[in-house]
């Protein structure tokens, strides 16, 4: 064979093999397409707040502790173990060795201390969880794998709150910081983290097209390792129109849907071949805040009457199309939930009995118009308003239904005078502790936002929630929170309606979905596999 022919043949073989190899790589790449209407993107653990942003962060960054199972306390994660000092003020974490950031450097105690200082100084995201508890500089590096958090005051739910604390790569941030307001730390790498990550999580950000898509690529050296079938590449697509999301799921152009579709859309998807709808009870409370400082809700008997007049069964069966009736403010799946409390059922006779005990006369009550405010565009809340108005006409109340933009409601929540009689509110657990559904709702120190629109004030409850926060012993803490739940449901501080169901649609080849109960954690793609 002469030389040119031999070279040509060898060349052809190389090209063919190369092509085959590329083909094989592409054929084996496991790709998952997730579709959501939410446009927010954020890879900065110090700034993320909503479900989408948290999903971005939890896929790319790691945490000291992790909420692995619904209703259970968080488990060790980056921190293999921890010790708490006798006074409950110092938490010392022993870090896992050999955890790598996406740039290949090792995660150490320096990164943990830096990340908490950064979180507190930027003062956004979930930094409010540690306001007054930790100040910048309170995290001490003992050695590369040991770090101590020195708290200003005993804070019982501290470990639980760490599920919102993502660790960033100090060296990478410092190498990419821009000029900014934080002195030697410049902008603390905020601009850098707008379009990429600095974490050690299972996925890295490959590319971002604002308002359109994010591409995540698996991090080969992730400390938990990888198994066959796990997702190599995630296409996170932003599809603003719910009808389009439904069509994409049916056609197989998407593998996993957001949770914000209507119950009817999920019913439609569940009936479609190749689509499975997962349903999980949520650590979420849907309730109607009753402004306790506005007549007639300043009278406990009127609030109880309203609680007995409402038709919970219709709300859950016909409007939410599933879920559990709320038992007080703490979701039934939350650790520390107290089920030994008053659970109101529709009973018009009892409602009338309580109205008769009210300090307001029948005529006075009839002359009042109760305002119900819900978030513009949320159909379930509109239907709940209609049901409420219908139920309350039976005990001679007039209800005016009004929708407002969320921004307006947030503004209304800052003062008792501007807060309407009823406000429809969803409150999802951000950390697995009853603290989030007691202290934040009932303690006057937390007043001024949508969670505390009941403006409920009871010195005993204030003292109990204060004490619970500073109690290190978990059982004792839960006992105190349990007492709060009993008092506040007995006094009908709000109209507690449902712990709704969280639904997501999947193509039937997607397996391994797990909902741990905390916002954003079920979007961690590491748990998923594609079986074809």
């Amino acid at each position: 064979m002469n030389k040119p022919i031999r070279f040509t043949l060898v060349g052809l073989v190389v090209v063919l093999l190369g092509g085959l190899a590329i083909g094989v790589v592409h054929a084996e790449e496991v790709v998952l397409t997730y579709v959501t209407h939410q446009e927010t993107m954020c890879f900065d653990p110090a700034k993320s707040v909503d479900e989408t942003e948290l999903g971005n962060v939890f896929n790319t960054h790691d945490l000291l502790v992790y909420p692995l199972e619904t209703g259970k306390a968080p488990v060790p994660w980056l921190a293999e173990s921890w010790d708490v000092s006798e006074d409950g003020l110092t938490y010392t974490f022993h870090l896992r060795k050999g955890v790598l950031f996406h740039d290949g450097t090792e995660l150490t105690a320096e990164d943990v201390a830096f990340s908490m200082d950064r979180m507190l100084r930027i003062n956004m995201g979930f930094s409010w969880l540690w306001k007054g508890i930790l100040d910048p500089g309170d995290v001490e590096v003992i050695d590369p794998y040991t770090v101590s958090f020195h708290l200003n005051t005993t804070f019982g739910p501290f470990i639980a709150t760490l599920v919102e604390f993502g660790v960033v790569n100090k060296d990478l941030i410092m190498a990419n910081m821009k000029e900014g307001e934080f002195g030697e730390f410049g902008d603390y790498g905020q601009e850098y983290l707008e379009t990429t990550d600095a974490g050690s999580g299972p996925y890295t950000v490959e590319s971002v097209e604002l308002g359109d898509r994010i591409i995540f690529r698996k991090f080969d050296n992730y400390w938990r390792g990888w198994e066959e079938g796990q997702i190599d590449k995630v296409r996170w697509l932003i599809i603003p129109e719910p009808a389009t999301i439904v069509v994409m799921m049916k056609k197989g152009e998407a593998d996993m849907s957001e949770q914000w579709l209507s119950p009817e859309a999920f019913e439609d998807l569940a009936a479609s071949p190749g689509v499975v709808v997962e349903e999980n009870p949520q650590m979420q409370l849907f309730f109607l805040q009753m402004n306790n400082q506005k007549p007639p809700f300043d009278d406990v008997n009127v609030r109880r009457a309203i609680s007995y007049a409402f038709d919970y069964e219709t709300a859950i069966e016909a409007i939410f199309k599933g879920g559990a009736q709320a038992e007080g403010s703490v979701p039934v799946l939350m650790p520390g939930h107290n089920s030994d409390i008053t659970v109101y059922q529709r009973d018009l006779e009892k409602a009338r009995e309580f109205l008769a005990k009210s300090k307001y006369s029948k005529e006075e009550l009839k002359a009042m118009t109760l305002t119900y405010v819900y978030v513009y565009g949320i159909e379930i809340e509109r239907k709940i308003g209609l049901l409420l108005a219908d139920n309350l006409t039976e005990i001679d109340f007039n209800v005016e239904i009004r929708s407002e933009l969320w921004s307006t409601i947030v503004d209304m929540a800052t003062k008792a005078e501007s807060t309407p009689h009823f406000t429809a509110i969803y409150h999802t657990a951000k950390y697995p502790s009853p603290d989030s559904h007691t202290y934040l709702i009932y303690n006057p120190k937390a007043w001024g936002n949508y969670i505390s629109m009941s403006w409920y004030e009871n010195p005993e409850v204030t003292e109990l929630t204060d004490n619970a926060r500073t109690t290190a012993d978990t059982e004792e803490r839960y006992r105190l929170y349990g007492k709060v739940q009993r008092i506040t449901t007995d006094e009908a501080a709000a109209l507690f309606i449902a712990n709704p169901i969280l639904r997501r649609a999947f193509r039937d080849h997607v397996k391994g979905y797990r909902y741990p109960g905390i916002l954003g954690y079920d979007l961690v793609f590491y748990n998923l596999k594609i079986e074809k």
Partner: protein, 335 residues
């Protein structure tokens, strides 16, 4: 003469934009709802809210905030978006090309389809072709764009499977040069990306083009009918001037002035109103960003988007005014 006119128009443009910025800046700041609280999330403490208000300058008098805004404008800064937590200018730079690509393509379809259809309608006034064109025009104006978009999706994407349902591209976008995918893929010779992005563009551009196409058709028809009645047109025909020359060189040129005005206005209108199409087709453009900003009280983004739309209107009107001079020398001479 033309240079002075251009200078005069540029000064006028700056004044208009200053007026727009002043108006929208103050309007965006008096709507209810605390932007700082919205940005921080509802659980944030009052101290955090106060701190961010200070950082954003919201605790300063309005005139001082406006001064800071104008100063930032010269540095290419429009302030932090409370939704994306990035500078609004950066957001707009990323999103504007998507809207421009959509609007320009839709306008091209509207012009290329609307003018010949208008001419045909006028030439065959009250005959079948005119009646069909009239029905088409009414339908184009009266059917809501979201409905047309969804119908297109069902027919061409879901049932026939000819075109994609949503998005700008299925695979990886072409290397970023201008942000216009068609242009970037041509420049980089990324032909698969060109075909992919072209396929994605067809349905949204067609949906957006229908209403302008109908309006251009109607206005061209009306003006052409007027020209057909004029003495010069009758004389041309009498002396045996070829019909095509008569129509396209003389009559259409004379009839085009008001069509051009409409095209100018429609282009500006489309930049701001492409929202529905961007929403239905998940098109990551600026119009969708603008509407979301309004709904979530993202005041810096609202001001930024409004300014861009304002610039769009003013620049397009300037181009239209300059083209008037080309179409009608009398206008040029008067100036």
């Amino acid at each position: 003469m033309r240079g002075t006119y251009l200078l005069y128009r540029l000064i006028y443009m700056v004044l208009v934009l200053l007026g727009v910025s002043l108006l929208i800046f103050f309007l965006a700041r008096v709507v209810p709802g605390d932007p700082a609280r919205l940005a921080l999330g509802p659980e944030a403490t009052q101290e955090q809210v106060a701190s961010l208000r200070h950082k954003l300058g919201l605790d300063r008098p309005l005139y001082a905030q406006y001064y800071v805004f104008i100063r930032g404008l010269f540095k290419g800064e429009l302030g932090m978006s409370l939704i994306t937590k990035r500078d609004v200018f950066k957001d707009l730079i990323q999103r504007l090309p998507a809207t421009l690509e959509l609007v320009v393509t839709a306008m091209l379809i509207a012009i290329i389809g609307g003018i010949p259809l208008g001419v045909l309608s006028a030439l065959h006034k009250d005959r079948t072709i005119d009646q069909i064109s009239r029905v088409f025009a009414f339908a184009g104006v009266s059917f809501p764009r979201f409905w047309i978009g969804i119908m297109f999706q069902i027919a061409f994407a879901y049932i026939l499977g000819l075109l994609p349902i949503t998005g700008r591209i299925s695979g990886d976008p072409p290397t970023h040069i201008t942000g216009l995918y068609l242009l970037d893929s041509l420049i980089t010779r990324d032909f698969p990306a060109f075909v992919d992005s072209f396929k994605h563009l067809v349905l949204p551009a067609l949906t957006l083009s229908l209403s302008p196409l109908a309006q251009i058709t109607r206005i061209t028809r009306a003006n052409m009918i007027e020209q057909l009645r004029k003495d010069y047109s009758i004389v041309m025909r009498t002396i045996g001037m070829p019909e095509a020359v008569n129509i396209y060189k003389y009559m259409l040129k004379n009839a085009f002035t008001s069509t051009l005005t409409v095209i100018g206005l429609l282009t500006g209108w489309m930049i701001g109103n492409a929202f529905v199409v961007e929403q239905v087709f998940s098109w990551p453009g600026m119009a969708r960003y603008g509407v979301n900003s309004v709904l979530r009280n993202d005041f810096n983004a609202v001001v930024g988007v409004t300014l861009v739309i304002g610039v769009g209107y003013v620049v397009i009107n300037l181009i239209v005014d300059l083209l008037y001079g080309y179409l009608d020398p009398r206008i040029r001479l008067k100036r």
